[in-house]
């Protein structure tokens, strides 16, 4: 459904160099620190920026050549951009009807009501959570095949985050062929939602795994400094040393559990993986 091949884009002090593929019916997460290149990647997929080189194919076409009809198959929620904040939801309904033939007004109204979003209040008076929900609902309002969600849960409290994630899950349940690309720097959001995860750092993909494999294979090995010296490091992909111990990230936790029965091997969450790969000792 989406294929990026050697996509390159350069800004002052930043280089993006990405290859990735998102098949139909998958939920793919892009995770990385702020400024890692997640939004730039999504903008390239949407044809909002021109790549310096490389190939982009979305729904079988180059994004810069998208027609209006092609764009109707994509629903987008950008992190820092939406309709003008002077509009109310009632205004937005009228505007969306003008853009999309298959805008489902009843469904959109129902979902807005379910999320307790006021229809006649200007968006500028909405809370952060309300704006985030509205952005996602707008993206879902016209039965798009592909949803592109840039940091849909950024800045939200845990309840609002769950509400947004539930909206995405419900959308996927309606049609299993729908695909979602979701970027976030909040890993727990992606753990329970994504089929696979790309980790981006400094404009490059540094890890791509199925979420199940990532959570099943990766583990945290905690050892003393002495134990670390004798440890077989062939499956250690990140380490962090403190005064007395070393915390290691392994891509084969089973190997260490079986061969080093005395050391502690714990399950790794995506946060641990990010911290140890991106923030660990070099």
């Amino acid at each position: 459904m989406v294929r990026l091949t050697d996509l390159r884009k350069e800004y002052k002090g930043f280089k993006l160099d990405i290859t990735m593929e998102i098949p139909e019916g998958r939920v793919t997460g892009l995770i990385g620190r702020n400024g890692a290149g997640k939004t730039t990647t999504l903008k390239a997929i949407l044809g909002l920026i021109r790549p310096a080189s490389g190939e982009i194919e979305v729904l079988g076409k180059k994004p810069m050549e998208f027609s209006a009809e092609d764009k109707k198959q994509i629903g987008v929620a950008l992190s820092s951009s939406c309709f003008s904040k002077v509009f109310t939801i009632s205004d937005i309904i009228q505007i969306l009807k003008g853009f999309y033939d298959d805008f489902n007004e009843d469904d959109f109204r129902k979902k807005c009501k379910d999320q307790e979003l006021p229809f006649d209040k200007q968006i500028k008076d909405f809370s952060t959570g309300m704006v985030a929900k509205l952005r996602v609902l707008i993206a879902m309002s016209h039965s798009a095949k592909l949803l592109i969600l840039d940091e849909p849960t950024a800045g939200l409290d845990v309840i609002a985050r769950n509400d947004v994630l539930d909206l995405i899950r419900a959308y996927l349940e309606e049609d299993p062929n729908r695909s979602v690309i979701i970027s976030s720097h909040i890993s727990t959001d992606l753990e329970g939602l994504c089929d696979d995860i790309y980790m981006i750092n400094d404009g490059r993909i540094i890890l791509h795994e199925d979420t199940d494999a990532l959570l099943g294979k990766y583990g945290i090995v905690k050892v003393s400094k002495e134990e670390y010296e004798t440890l077989d490091k062939k499956y250690i992909v990140g380490t962090r040393k403190d005064n007395f111990s070393v915390t290691c990230l392994t891509s084969e936790k089973q190997f260490y559990a079986e061969n080093y029965p005395k050391i502690v091997v714990e399950n790794a969450h995506i946060d641990d993986i990010i911290v140890l790969i991106l923030g660990g000792d070099k």
């Binding site: 909002l48 027609s67 950008l78 205004d91 505007i95 003008g98």
Partner: protein, 221 residues
């Protein structure tokens, strides 16, 4: 395109209090001013209102989101021209209603053909001004637009003053005579004049719109 026009119309409605205030002010002033004042004043307000919709699109990086909607970048420029031409014309029509209502209330005598000719010429002039200002507003961010406008009006003012000074010197020292030809409003038939003015406006708008479409097509969001 339809969605963009609805969006701009909603932005305009959002400013309805300002609009009503300006129109009321125009009505009050028109009793003490020349009858053409209300036409130029309200048309100018309309022009400013149309251009202000672009600033709303710029705010909060709104262009990025707009370009994810089912339109091509060039469609944005076309919709903005369609909306602005319609808007300026609508404001001009409102101003005509007020102008003739005030003339009727004041029971002033006027030559209908002269008044209409002047009003229609003013519409053509505002469309030409629109054709100059729209690409600037589309090309530059609202912050830069102010600077660009300041520079453009500065250059025009400087040009006018310099031209006047040069003509004064040439006239004084060499006895050259300027503007000796008769006023075109008096020599050319009104129909030809109106057609000519609108032809100029259409040419200006066409060139301007082509430039704006190119600006949007080249832009990254």
């Amino acid at each position: 395109m339809k969605g963009l026009l609805i969006k701009d119309f909603k932005i305009l409605l959002n400013q309805k209090r300002f609009l009503l205030m300006f129109i009321c002010l125009a009505v009050i002033l028109s009793f003490s001013m020349d009858s053409t004042f209300v036409v130029s004043y309200i048309s100018m307000i309309g022009l400013i209102m149309m251009l202000s919709t672009i600033a709303y699109d710029y705010n909060d990086d709104g262009f990025s989101f707009l370009m994810t909607l089912p339109i091509k970048p060039g469609d944005y420029a076309v919709a903005k021209y369609v909306f602005s031409i319609m808007g300026v014309t609508l404001f001009w029509l409102i101003s005509l209603v007020i102008q003739f209502a005030v003339l009727a209330i004041q029971k002033e005598s006027y030559v209908l053909s002269d008044t209409v000719l002047l009003d229609v010429s003013m519409l053509a002039l505002f469309l030409v001004i629109l054709s100059v200002l729209l690409p600037i507003d589309i090309r530059f961010s609202p912050e830069k637009v102010r600077v660009v406008m300041f520079i453009i009006f500065g250059i025009i003012m400087a040009g006018v003053l310099a031209g006047k000074a040069v003509m004064g010197i040439l006239s004084d020292k060499f006895g050259m005579v300027f503007f000796s030809r008769p006023n075109p409003f008096e020599t050319v038939s009104p129909a030809v004049l109106i057609i000519g003015l609108f032809a100029i406006a259409i040419i200006f708008l066409s060139i301007s719109m082509m430039y704006s479409i190119r600006v949007m097509q080249k832009r990254e969001f």
